[in-house]
Amino acid sequence: MPSNTNSSFIGFGAGLRVPHYAEVLQGKVKAIDWFEAISENFLGLKETPQGRPLDVLLKVRENFPIVLHGVSLSIGSTDELNRTYLTSLKSLYDKVQPAWVSDHLCWTGVHGHNLHDLLPLPYTMETVEHVSSRIQKVQDFLGRQLTIENVSSYLSYKQSAMTEWEFLSEIHRRTDCGLLLDVNNVYVSSHNHHFDPKEYIRGVPRKAITQMHLAGHSSAEALLIDTHDAPVCDEVWELYGYALKTVGPINTLVEWDGNIPSLERLEEEVSHARNIARDTIGITEGFYRSERTATPS
């Protein structure tokens, strides 16, 4: 099977969410290898890592690898990079020591107005240059690689001159950033913009892929909406299997942010991802033992 040497394999994870805090701290997790934490949720109301949520995260970190996943970097915006936010993120990074740090390939606001959404970018060389420059600055500031995620989108721009996967590939080439391949987002965007999702998977640089996301979505008449409030659908599971065969074993995370299920139900989704990996590319317990990074001390 093809190998990805860009990151260590830490297995199959889930988003760390408030309704599950107690069970995770009580050691009731059975099928989750690592957790992804939304960075902004641990910065307190005043963007300084503090408070009880951070206490919980640090306790979870004693037993599980953690990945920090942000939603406010706005790497594609024309506003200056938010230095206060980056400083807080670096501080959070120093406390948590995550396996990697990620955010989204999008803009979230402009002229100081944060829309708290992941808005698509036009796929042009001008945008590539702009985004690549900002990614380099962030990587230099943090002192480590940034991993960026493809977003679901509901509109595209007439001025776009390349495909999304060509856009991603060019940005990676210029910055050596990691890629978080959200398989559900590829599926949703392929439906909304009528392209072949498998062509997308084949078109991204496999060695750049640090992680994959899986999630549920909803239907709103002609469009699919990335709502993260439902189980992963069969078509996305199928695309995930295709992605594994194409790029090799990749750290995989199940996102479920709305209508949050019980921990047991969430673990069923994570186990399903693990079973697909076993059945399609033969990831076994033996692979885990040899490839997983050591649990943090």
Binding site: E40, N41, L43, G44, L45, E47, Q50, G51, R52, P53, D55, V56, V71, S72, N82, Y85, G109, V110, H111, G112, H113, N114, L115, H116, D117, L119, Y154, L155, S156, Y157, K158, Q159, S160, N192, H193, H194, A220, E221, A222, L223, I225
Partner: protein, 261 residues
């Protein structure tokens, strides 16, 4: 700037386009959904996301004003106070100031109510739910207490437990003898019991002070006079701090305030 206006103007993209206030010619025409439908996904999500956050963070205010008036308030607020921080939870941080400086200031004591809600949000966010009761919240002005009454769920009943629940269970399973003898009379917990919407019986453990607080509220007394019955300021502060939780749990069914309706 065009997209910013399209996504955030409360009039909505359809109205803006019909009135030629925006131009969507930069959006690619694609089959399946029109340009308006595509931008509406983002504009609807923007408003709904912020509405949900503000509804969660200003539970008391919404209960007092009612849904329609609360919606008017947040639409007005968001016209001049757009979110700007990375953490979306901060979006309500200036609502009290806005109320005090706008035409909403005519609604007597609305600013104090909004302040109270925001205090609960800050306490919840910073110290996590389990520690909320331990936070000492200052009492609001006597004026607020003299006018607001809280209406608890009238179907809830009280039980006095002869022993701690854990000891009753242990006694039932023969693991300890005489579980009722483990507590003094004043330590025996009160349980507030009600039937939930799904038919389940739900128990809430209340301290003696919280029970007295509840019973006084149930007699439609104003909050200040209820707090005066509690002998210790700390007890009163903790009981007032519980109001937010009780509203979220559905134990407080209504708040009546003549000058805010």
């Amino acid at each position: 700037m065009e997209l910013l206006k399209v996504f955030t103007d409360p009039k909505g993209p359809r109205h803006l386009l019909e009135n030629k206030e925006i131009d969507l010619s930069f959006v690619e025409d694609q089959k399946g959904a029109s340009s308006i439908e595509r931008v509406s996904v983002y504009s609807d999500a923007y408003f709904l996301r912020l509405k949900e956050i503000l509804e969660n963070d200003f539970e008391l205010t919404r209960l007092v004003l009612g849904d329609a008036l609360f919606l008017d308030l947040i639409v007005d607020y968001l016209k001049t106070h757009h979110p700007y921080r990375p953490n979306a939870q901060w979006v309500g941080g200036h609502l009290s100031e806005f109320v005090g400086q706008s035409s909403w200031a005519k609604k007597k004591l609305l600013s104090a109510l909004v302040d109270f809600d925001w205090m609960l949000t800050e306490v919840t966010f910073e110290t996590y739910l389990e520690n909320r009761a331990a936070a000492k919240l200052p009492l609001l002005s006597p004026e607020f207490f003299s006018e607001a009454t809280f209406v608890p769920d009238s179907s809830a009943k009280f039980l006095r437990c002869s022993a701690e629940l854990e000891d009753l269970w242990l006694g039932r399973h023969n693991k300890i003898e005489n579980p009722s003898s483990t507590l003094t009379e004043s330590d025996k917990p009160w349980l507030l019991v009600r039937r939930g919407e799904d038919g389940r019986i739900i128990f809430y453990r209340l301290s003696d002070a919280e029970r007295r607080f509840w019973l006084e509220l149930a007699q439609s007394k104003a909050l200040l006079s209820v707090c005066e019955i509690l002998e210790e300021d700390e007890e009163a502060s903790l009981a007032v701090a519980q109001l937010g939780s009780w509203i979220q749990m559905g134990l407080i069914k209504d708040i009546q305030h003549s000058s805010l309706s």
